[in-house]
């Protein structure tokens, strides 16, 4: 049986020592996760009061105009 040499170079392999050809899929997946985490962490915070205050000011301006 002929063993495939390079069709799926890292299938089932741990990420350690991955160098050379293309990004490590494990690293890529970790980056994707961390990117979403960076974003979602802020997006899920309660909105600071300053923005409610800002809206009030903007609406007041409109009221005068």
């Amino acid at each position: 049986m002929k063993k495939p040499t390079h069709s799926s170079p890292d299938a089932g392999m741990p990420s350690g020592g991955h160098h050379g050809h293309g990004p490590d899929p494990v690293v890529e997946e970790a980056i994707g996760r961390q990117l979403r985490k960076l974003y979602d962490e802020v997006a899920s915070e309660p909105v600071p009061d300053r923005f409610a205050e800002l809206l009030r000011q903007l609406e007041q301006q409109d009221g005068k105009g």
Partner: protein
Amino acid sequence: MAVSQELRDGLIGNIPSLRAFAYSLCGNATRADDLVQETMVKAWANFSSFQEGTNLRAWLFTILRNEFYSQMRKKGREVEDADGMIAERQAVIGNQESHIELEELKQALNKLPDDQREAIILVGASGMAYEEAAAICGVAVGTMKSRVSRARKRLAEMLQRDEFELAV
């Protein structure tokens, strides 16, 4: 002209994602909220030019993005010092399977060219479709796809090296 209730609610509903976009772009919480504030003021003043029924989020993100770059141009590129960014928001992640942590990612993002950074934030972090991200940045969808892919590759290169150094 009075701003409609619908637009007002739409604006409020988009504040969390505007904050997340701003923070991902500049890496500084205070500056991010200043950017959002400026975006809201500009949006409010220009709502008459917004076509109701079209994509409000994309419209707001475009304003924020333009504001971010115009501030960068004014200030010259005085990039935030890395230490300040780290102290800003400490995120603790117990992620054993890879050594990539949020702070390393933020520093790596900071090193990307502007066009790649915004591309990977919009598509990779916020989960936006290529089409919407392309519209926000004013480029073709194919351009957006190639920017995202180059950004992924460069981030992986930078962080893979970090991971290797950490492991040694």
